[in-house]
């Protein structure tokens, strides 16, 4: 549910509940909070989140915990007191020795795992929506990217029948050309998607089509992977430059169709 690994999240919450009920010591709370956050980022999500994101969050929350612990002289004293006792009091000598051995062992194990981890191909970041050019020339026709709109979109209100014909033509174009990668249901999960890197765009995603102007989509369709600036790693993209295969009208029609199918509207002009 909500992309969470519920058993883990509930277990963490339960432990927190028990600690609250037993009025746990500040140090225990701090250790619990740090550990629980780590476990939450590591195991709490049904879909693994990027390591870098988890590291940033853990870094910030770690800093916050330190700030909390040192926010007043009393709290700091309360926090470090058990540690001082562990180090100073003779009756904890055994526990201290154990800790002195256990922590380096943990560090050694961590280093060993790091060193023996199976190799992975190097990965590089890329811009998902690279900046478009200011002008776009397709089949000798130049449009202004900032102001151009899908020329058939207005039929939706002016002439629904004609709009329907354009959408249907777009449907034909889509299922003759696009679904191998972008999928029958447009989830970016077509039958060839597993063999491509970057993966094909998911048109069901509310953060994709609705966030883009139809002129941007037209640019991506007409110029494809090779038409992207370097930030989009054009050499990896399998998106064809559809101007090689389709007429301008067909490209606008399929543009219309992918919005219509998903019930989305292109981002309006000047809207951010």
């Amino acid at each position: 549910m909500w992309g969470l690994n519920l058993p883990i999240v509930l277990a963490l919450a339960a432990i927190g509940g028990v600690l609250a009920w037993r009025r746990a010591h500040t140090l225990v709370w701090l250790l619990y909070t740090g550990g629980a956050l780590w476990a939450f980022f590591r195991f709490g999500f049904a879909v693994p989140i990027p390591q870098s994101v988890a590291t940033i969050y853990l870094g910030i929350t770690g800093l916050a915990l330190v700030c909390y612990a040192s926010s007043s002289r009393e709290r700091l004293a309360e926090t470090v007191q058990p540690i001082q006792r562990l180090i100073l009091e003779p009756r904890y000598r055994l526990a201290l020795a154990g800790l002195l051995v256990a922590l380096p062992a943990l560090a050694a194990y961590n280093a060993y795992v790091d060193l023996t981890m199976p190799l992975e191909a190097p990965g590089f970041g890329r811009e998902i929506h690279p900046p478009p050019p200011t002008e776009l020339t397709v089949h000798d026709e130049t449009i202004d990217m900032a102001t151009a709109e899908n020329p058939y979109l207005h039929y939706k209100h002016d002439d629904p029948e004609l709009y329907g014909k354009h959408v249907e033509n777009g449907r034909r174009v889509y299922y003759e050309n696009c679904f191998w990668c972008h999928g029958d249901g447009m989830g970016g999960d077509g039958m060839f998607a597993h063999g491509l890197n970057p993966v094909p765009s998911n048109f069901n995603d509310v953060g994709t089509l609705p966030a883009l102007q139809s002129s941007f989509v037209h640019w991506r369709i007409a110029k494809g992977g090779p038409g992207m600036p370097a930030g989009g790693t054009p050499w990896d993209s399998a998106m064809p430059a559809w101007e090689k295969f389709l007429t301008t009208e067909e490209m606008w029609d399929v543009n219309l169709f992918i919005y219509d199918f998903n019930g989305f509207e292109p981002r309006a002009l000047g809207q951010h």
């Binding site: 191909a121 029958d184 999960d189 597993h194 054009p234 064809p240 007429t247």
Partner: protein
């Protein structure tokens, strides 16, 4: 069997069942849904299904000419994946199963976004396309699928005997790679060529990879295809043993696609002519499987490549590096021509679609290009810029194969027009340090960043090198000598390449270097040539260090650093405590001293 106590209940159950049968004849199973349900199903169908299965259910949608296997024609009432006996109709659950999970490695996806009710409505609508579903005689009870056996050695051995006795190898091949002698000739009952399953790649089984799925296929057959039912000819136990055997052929449920070849170092010389030593050398190198998909980005598009993956490994010594690739192909085509730049006509032309051929096939999606004044150019790939890309549009395309997708009748008889081939692709030079992500265009490179192709036409079995600066700029090159040996065994091609690690003009393979690599495979039987190919995106080959990296050093260092920090903390805390105690003692001492006279 159950004890005596259960007998009366059993008898009662049997009686009740008989009574039911008498009261309600077999048409109790006929459930076509209400008109409202069918209408609701039509809405879902028109949005998600009609593009392939046709708006009238005849399996003739927009995508149909370009997909393989063909979408189901719902007007026939013939279904491949059923729990019901051969020749009968599927249950609603059978239809639901395929709608939910799809058929792997076909154009039928699963539809997890549809609700249970939506799927049921679609099932009602699909059933309305064929009158067979109104006929009670066409229904039958699902077969019983027993709990699968453990794949013991004995069971697998018995299954092998069944496999041989039943002639499974005729289509599926001696070791199950879908390469039997009959494999190239197979067609379904609509006359469309189809392929025997590659039993070693369980993840591609259309009907599912589990033992239950396999047992079901043996017991019900795949209606409309040459795959028969063995319900009458094989006992349940025999079928279970056969399941054990077929399952044992499989290379896992999952293809475990990787992203990296790890090239391992060896002191040994690499001699391509010494097969045994070469095999031993590669034994130590990890094998990685990479996914292949159709080249559909540039003209010469390939919408249904039969080869869906390739395995690769690499070894290197002081001077040389060797790559070995392996893939499955139902037949070795070693008589035709092929090379990376061989021209391919437009897809429609190559497949007999458009012009007169369209009238012949009754295809109404591409044929009436000029007739429709609203949509204008219907011609698929006949784009305005077409002339720039296909120089040979005047050729006689229909003479060489017409509308076949998986080889012509002549091809089935022996010689194919195009030979099988494979290519490794590397960048001509490594990316500069400041832009490590930079690579040549994965489709044969680009003008700024060329690629080198190590191409083997399996007719000749030797490696030719090409330099690619884009799909329309591929030139033979002789800067480096690449050697190759090839073999075809029981449906599997193996090609081993060798080259000096350092190159005069191309990429050199230094130790601990990540080098981009991509693959292309051409299946001559599928008339693949030039840019009509199966290809991969960029992956990497990593040349593992020749000297094994010591693990002990870094591990000890990590432990030591932590220990030192710990000891430091303990030391500081204790010193502080001592100082405090000393201060207290000192101040206490002063106090004592000042108070002393009073005592």
């Amino acid at each position: 069997m159950t004890g005596h106590a259960n007998r009366p209940t059993q008898a009662a159950a049997t009686l009740a069942a008989v009574a039911l049968l008498v009261a309600l004849p077999a048409n109790a199973q006929v459930d076509l849904g209400t008109e409202e349900q069918q209408a609701a199903g039509k809405v879902v169908y028109d949005k998600y299904c009609g593009q392939c299965h046709g708006d009238t259910g005849d399996g003739n949608g927009y995508a149909t000419p370009r997909v393989k296997p063909k979408p189901r024609d719902f007007t026939t009432g013939t279904y491949k994946f059923r729990t019901t006996p051969n020749g009968t109709l599927p249950t609603d659950d059978d239809l639901r199963r395929i709608i939910e999970i799809g058929a792997p490695y076909t154009s039928m996806p699963g539809w997890p976004n549809l609700t249970s009710a939506e799927i049921q409505n679609v099932i009602y609508y699909i059933k309305s396309f064929s009158s067979a579903f109104e006929n009670p005689d066409r229904y039958a009870e699902p077969i019983e699928i027993p709990r699968p056996l453990e794949s013991t050695e004995e069971s697998v051995a018995r299954g092998r005997v069944v496999y041989e006795e039943q002639g499974c190898a005729a289509c599926h091949g001696e070791v199950g790679r879908g390469d039997g002698p009959s494999a190239p000739t197979l067609v379904n009952d609509k006359g469309d060529p189809i392929r025997a399953a590659d039993l070693t790649q369980r993840w591609t089984y259309r009907g599912g990879p589990t033992k239950e799925d396999i047992y079901r296929t043996f017991s019900t057959g795949l209606n409309g295809t040459p795959m028969p039912s063995y319900a009458d000819s094989l006992e349940v136990e025999d079928r279970q043993d056969l399941v054990s055997y077929v399952y044992s052929l499989g290379d896992g449920d999952d293809p475990n696609y990787g992203t990296l070849i790890t090239a391992v170092y060896s002191e040994e010389p690499i001699d391509l002519q010494d097969g045994e030593t070469l095999d031993a050398l590669f034994e130590s190198a990890p094998m990685t499987r990479f996914p292949l998909v159709g080249q559909i980005t540039e003209p010469g598009r390939n919408f249904f490549p039969p080869v869906t993956s390739i395995e690769a490994q690499a070894v290197y010594n002081r001077d040389e590096i060797a790559f070995r690739v392996r893939w499955h192909d139902l037949r070795a085509d070693t008589s035709g021509r092929n090379n990376p730049s061989l021209e391919v006509p437009t897809w429609d032309e190559d497949n007999g679609i458009g012009g007169d051929a369209a009238d012949d096939t009754g295809d109404d999606f591409f044929g009436d290009a000029g007739g429709d004044d609203f949509f204008g150019d219907f011609g698929g790939e006949e784009a305005p810029a077409e002339d720039d890309f296909f120089g040979d549009s005047g050729d006689d395309f229909f003479g060489d194969g017409g509308d076949d997708f998986f080889g012509t009748a002549e091809a089935g008889a022996g010689g194919a027009e195009f030979s099988d081939a494979v290519a490794l692709q590397f960048p001509a030079s490594l990316a500069p340090e400041e832009t490590p992500e930079l690579k040549p265009y994965f489709l044969y490179g680009d003008a700024q960043n060329p690629v080198d192709l190590w191409f083997v036409n399996l007719t000749y079995g030797v490696a030719d090198t090409f330099r690619g600066r884009g799909s329309d700029a591929i030139e033979p090159t002789e800067a480096d000598v690449v050697e190759a040996v090839t073999s075809y065994d029981q449906g599997a091609w193996t090609v081993t390449y060798k080259r000096r690690r350092s190159s005069r003009a191309g990429v050199s393979f230094a130790e601990e270097q990540y080098t981009p690599v991509a693959f292309s495979v051409w299946d001559g039987f599928n008339r693949e040539r030039g840019n009509k190919r199966a290809l991969s995106s960029w992956f990497y080959v990593y040349t593992e260090p020749s000297v094994e990296q010591a693990v002990a050093g870094p591990v000890l260092r990590a432990a030591l650093i932590v220990l030192v920090v710990e000891l430091l903390v303990v030391f500081l805390v204790r010193r502080r405590a001592r100082q405090k105690a000393a201060e207290e003692a000192a101040s206490g001492g002063t106090l004592t001293a000042t108070e002393a006279p009073a005592v």
